[in-house]
């Protein structure tokens, strides 16, 4: 299958396996909401209903693959907020950020709320999360997700992420920015008709502005995650490299028990700083999910 991703032939390892994975539908992964139920109890409930679950890793006891489940949104457990359907790689951004209970966190582009509710879960519903979502029409789904999941420690706001007020600083920031979404190709029903989104060329500029603003909102010892669901280095390593050249920022290592690749050192005519290998890339043929990129960032020194 010749796809728009042919331009990544030289940077994606085992490219033929990658291409083959794009033909397959993405399996159902979900996260157990520990704010409402313990994972073991949920597993037993679903097993009694004939729903078989597999842990994705020994390390992450709330993340599961449900290979035979086609419509998880139809489960009673979904209505009750016990589970949230979420791409595995999407969950990893929150795990990599690892916010402490009682901290102050900003989620810059929060809707539809899967990551926000995961962050609330990791913070045990303590501290405070500012769930910012610039588009008003996306607040409905954001609020619905947070309510269903029993999230109590969140305030929603509607600023443009790149202009978020510099009135205060945060312990943790998640900048899961708007992107071309190439990594979600497997989730698209009309994969054969895939076309690149209009306006893609303007995305890196917006992403750079959001990341700079995120960094400026960070406390002295704070940490932020920059993440996208795209393979495009112009939206990933280039953006992070821009921050490293513009601010006194430091790339921190990402410690995850899920197979990943390091950030790219170069792309087309550009080369990035040596630190960039600490960023991580996830590919669908390596972990049977959607493509993803993330970088963990702190203040130097």
């Amino acid at each position: 299958m010749k796809t728009v991703f042919d331009r990544y032939r030289e940077i994606i390892p085992d490219f033929s396996a990658f291409q083959e994975s794009l033909r397959q539908p993405v399996p159902v992964h979900f996260r157990v909401n520990r704010l409402k139920i313990e994972p073991q109890r949920l597993v037993q409930r679903l097993k009694a209903k004939g729903v078989h679950l597999q842990r994705v890793s020994k390390k992450y006891e709330t993340l599961f693959l449900a290979p035979d489940l086609e419509r998880p949104g139809k489960l009673l457990e979904y209505f009750l907020g016990y589970v949230h359907t979420q791409a595995l790689t999407s969950c990893l951004a929150c795990i990599a950020l690892c916010p402490r209970p009682g901290s102050y966190l900003l989620d810059m582009c929060a809707s539809p709320g899967g990551k926000t509710s995961h962050l609330a879960q990791l913070m045990e519903n303590t501290g405070l999360i500012i769930a910012n979502e610039p588009y008003p029409n996306r607040h409905v789904i954001l609020n619905h997700t947070l309510s269903r999941m029993g999230v109590l420690n969140t305030v929603t706001a509607a600023y443009r992420a790149e202009l978020f007020p510099l009135k205060q600083r945060y312990d943790y920031i998640l900048a899961d920015v708007p992107c071309s979404g190439e990594g979600t190709f497997r989730m698209m029903s009309q994969r054969s008709n895939y076309i690149e989104r209009k306006g893609k060329a303007r995305l890196p500029e917006l992403q750079k502005r959001i990341l700079l603003r995120a960094f400026d909102l960070l406390k002295e010892n704070g940490q932020l995650i920059y993440s996208t669901c795209t393979y495009n280095p112009d939206e990933n390593e280039s953006v992070v490299d821009y921050l490293l050249n513009s601010r006194d920022a430091e790339l921190l290592s990402v410690d995850l028990d899920i197979q990943h690749e390091p950030g790219l050192r170069e792309w087309e005519k550009g080369a990035y700083g040596r630190e960039i290998h600490r960023a991580v890339r996830f590919y669908p043929h390596r972990l049977n999910s959607v493509g993803f990129f993330m970088a963990r960032i702190g203040r130097r020194g």
């Binding site: 009673l76 102050y104 607040h139 509607a158």
Partner: protein, 107 residues
């Protein structure tokens, strides 16, 4: 909304919504929200009604559930298989469904 030392600084932002909506006014009544009851309903010591699958089907279809309860008229907490679903309104020997029926498609 939980009490947090960060609420003071968050109040400097233009806030759209804070925490989980707990109640809403419906006419002259104040109704607890389904999601609030799902979180805090386990703390209730009365007005809890366990229903079976057939009774749940009745409520989800929008029909009242005729039932004998020795409690005053008002909101009751509906439990199914031990799990808190949401609320019903008990009036004159029947429970009127208050759960978001469109979201319940598992039957």
């Amino acid at each position: 909304m939980i009490n947090s030392p960060f609420l003071q600084s968050a109040s400097r932002l233009k806030v759209k919504r804070a925490g989980l909506r707990a109640f809403q006014r419906i006419g002259k009544f104040v109704k607890p929200s389904t999601r609030m009851i799902q979180v805090f309903g386990s703390l209730a010591t009365k007005a809890r009604v366990e229903i079976d699958e057939i009774q749940l089907e009745t409520l989800v279809s929008g029909e009242p559930l005729h039932i004998e309860l020795e409690i005053e008229d008002g909101y009751v907490i509906l439990l199914f298989a031990g799990h808190i679903l949401g609320l019903g309104l008990f009036i004159e020997g029947k429970i009127l469904p208050q759960i978001p029926r469109k979201e319940i498609s598992f039957l």
